[in-house]
Subunit: 246 residues, 2 copies
DNA sequence: TAAATGTTAATGGTAAGACCACTGATCTTT
DNA sequence: AAAGATCAGTGGTCTTACCATTAACATTTA
């Protein structure tokens, strides 16, 4: 006998799929108001609970925005929300430290390269400003300000790539990363001599971008990240398995 | 008067947060069975519907697996599921073609570089096998087989990086990409002379990886992707804004 | 005894109905 | 015309109920 198993697809998945298709073919554009939960339930011949579970899923993925008392709207997909599950994952998963850090390195190196090619005068000014804030933080011995302007420095480089997607992806990874290893990161700034080293490295990166030298920019960025990786790995008492892009 | 707004957090979000914390601090390990929906509802003093919405969200993000009639289990987070929202987004978003393709290029170039450093003999054999299948497909004039082995070739390179996260992210982007531009991709293989060019490029990439030359591997990969980008852009009648990593 | 079979309690899946708080537009009053 | 009150509609939540599936247990059978 040659029977095929009967597929018992969950209702909410079908609802998600129908809405997804409407978004894909353009019937539902960002800003559009969706039918109310009650109307959807009636049209699809399902319970309101099923509709709500589908909308919950779409909300989690950042495709719709649900306003209590107002209605449900197709969201202008910025991309930030799509990445939320990734951020949550990083807060839980500890094992794949170096795999993820490697991806961050790939992004940052590429960002430095592209920034050297495309940075506008405004971009350059922002990068330099963050570098100066770092230096000031060091003389003031303000490690918190130092970390903040460090992150801002990297952010402004990603901005200078003119690639919004690269900016968002890199930020998500970097943010989640900095949170999950905040201890090691703090140590990075409290070790004698390290702040000066870090500022030297950042200065070199900035100069390479300013001089529109993509190769040097990516090289200095790699050196900086590898140094930070090694220092943090020492604090965390784990050994990096690979050495990227040497 | 200095009042702080009373924040009406949605109940399901609080449920998600509580479970997330239990996962983060290790109280809930992969494989563990969660309390039943009814028990959770009673313990948390909320309705079963709210518990279900929270579990739906966790399921969408790939953190739990829900078996009808069986129970809810903490999932061994493979990472594939975390990326699902990204895949769904790519199927909808059409505008940022070159931004996304640039990210793909960044990944593929890095993958080629790392593969040249880390490929095992087994990896190399797989890469070569896919290359041979491409050649065979060309002589047989089987464009479908050609596209398939092309994708497999790139996949096997990503595999050789030994970085599971890079593999998953790259696959998600590449898959969504190939689907959304299937027309242009087909044209890429039907244009006279192109198959031969593509095979030459792939051969160069393979040889660079085989010879453990990361710089050359990344250079040949870049040339290949830039060529494909230009050809597809011509079919789609759009002009690339940037030229990456030249 | 051990395997196959039947039973049953627990679980997730779905539905229906109800009530609340909030939103936004309309209507009323000033 | 502006301010306030009204009200229908919406999402948020809870309750109850029943179904289909699962898995453990009890029973039967060879």
């Amino acid at each position: 006998m040659d029977f095929r198993p009967i597929q018992a697809k969950k209702i909410y998945e079908e609802v998600v799929e129908q809405i997804r298709q409407l978004m894909e073919n353009g019937s539902l554009k960002p800003g559009d108001k969706l039918l109310s939960e009650r109307e959807l339930a009636e049209k699809l011949q399902v319970s309101r609970a099923s509709v709500r579970e589908a909308l919950r899923a779409l909300e989690m993925m950042g495709f719709v925005e649900i306003k209590a008392g107002g209605g449900t709207f197709i969201k202008e997909t910025s991309g930030d929300d799509i990445i939320q599950p990734l951020a949550m994952f990083l807060s839980i998963e500890k094992g794949s430290f170096f795999e993820i850090y490697e991806i961050r390195k790939i992004f940052e190196i590429a960002a430095a390269h592209l920034a050297a090619q495309r940075a506008t005068p405004g971009d350059l000014a922002r990068i330099e400003e963050n570098l100066e804030r770092m230096k000031a933080a060091m003389t003031e011995d303000d490690s918190e300000k130092g970390e903040g302007s460090d992150a801002a420095f990297h952010f402004s480089i990603a901005e200078a790539t003119q690639n919004g997607w690269l900016l968002r992806l890199l930020n998500t990874i970097a943010d989640s990363f900095n949170k999950s290893i905040s201890v090691a990161r703090r140590q990075l700034y409290l070790t004698p001599g390290h702040p000066q080293l870090l500022i030297e490295q950042h200065t070199k990166i900035y100069e390479a971008i300013r001089d529109k030298n993509p190769i040097l920019a990516q090289k200095t960025m790699l050196e900086h990240l590898s140094f930070a990786e090694g220092a943090m790995a020492k604090t965390l008492k784990i050994e990096p398995e690979f050495q990227l892009l040497t």
